[in-house]
């Protein structure tokens, strides 16, 4: 399988994503410069973390207009898998690939491990996980407070588009377990077609015990199991 990792000016988790895909999963990968017009046959596109365009205006707002994003949106419209991680999630929301918006945290920048609960396994990113499985992965962001209107939140819940929720050690989505004030403890969502998934935690930084957690692996393994190359 071939992963395309988009590199914007200001991306800083592109190498981590590369390492996860190439060194851990032994898959093909290609770095896609933001000015490129071709996904080079990528089966899965990763929008990595970082501060694309310095987060000017709003996180993801300018990156959305990079030439490569036209191809990423076309890939998604064809049913191709797109995964947005952290800043990549912000970019996917700004590009209207995903619903909602990610606002400034209610308590400043947070860099810490968090635990999320897998709410749905019917996405390419979570198919190999168990429903209710808890995953510990790092977050590092200042703008991760998932926000949408109450009506939209109800619709997302109803359609099963909430994929990850911040939970405490007992698996409950409490206020104390919510690192950024996200509506309903939402840490990740998918689109209605379920082929685009965005999340604030970093699975690519949780691939081996040396990094403090291997819980990100099951998400990448889900991609391998569900996406046909």
């Amino acid at each position: 399988m071939k992963f395309g990792i988009v590199r914007f000016p200001g991306s800083n988790c592109d190498e981590d994503a590369w390492f996860a895909v190439v060194e851990h999963l032994r898959q093909d990968a290609v770095m896609l410069w933001h000015k490129a017009h071709d996904l080079e046959g990528s089966d899965v596109v990763i929008l990595p973390g970082g501060f694309a365009y310095g987060d000017y205006l709003r996180a993801g707002a300018i990156a959305r207009f990079s030439p490569i994003m036209r191809e990423v949106v076309a890939h998604a419209k064809r049913g191709g898998v797109v995964i947005g991680i952290c800043n990549g999630f912000q970019i996917a929301c700004e590009a209207h690939l995903l619903p909602g918006a990610l606002l400034r945290n209610d308590r400043g920048y947070r860099s810490m491990p968090v635990t999320v609960r897998v709410e749905r396994t019917d996405t390419p990113l979570t198919a190999a996980a168990a429903a209710g499985q808890r995953l510990t992965m790092p977050i590092a962001h200042g703008e991760g407070r998932f926000t949408a209107s109450d009506e939209d939140l109800d619709r997302l819940e109803g359609e099963g588009q909430v994929i990850f929720r911040y939970v405490d050690a007992a698996g409950q989505p409490t206020a104390a377990a919510n690192p950024n004030g996200a509506s309903r403890n939402i840490a990740g969502v998918c689109n209605t077609e379920r082929n685009v998934v965005g999340l604030m935690p970093h699975p690519e930084r949780a691939m081996e015990p040396l990094l403090g957690s291997s819980d990100g692996r099951v998400l990448f393994e889900s991609l391998l199991a569900t996406v046909s190359a």
Partner: protein
């Protein structure tokens, strides 16, 4: 003609604005107890060419809808264009 169009983009009312809350709290600490709320957004000045003031305003509205404001969480107010 050249115009300068001022635009204010503010967090939508009812959506938590942590910057605004932090500033409000600081003002209260300084003794400005009459302050109810502060909203922190951004002010942009767009310098552009347009045929009329109305056209300048309309162009700015299009920019806000497409890029300058996030329709999910922000509102924008376009001020009176000035001839530049």
């Amino acid at each position: 003609m050249k115009f300068r169009v001022p635009v204010d983009v503010l967090p939508r009312r009812g959506i938590l604005d942590p910057q605004g809350k932090a500033v409000t709290d600081a003002l209260h600490t300084l003794g400005f107890s009459a302050v109810d709320e502060v909203h922190v957004g951004r002010h942009l000045v767009i310098e552009l060419a347009a045929d009329s003031e109305a056209a300048a305003r309309e162009a700015a509205a299009g920019m806000c809808q497409k890029l300058l404001a996030n329709p999910v969480t922000e509102d924008f107010v376009i001020g009176a264009p000035e001839a530049a």
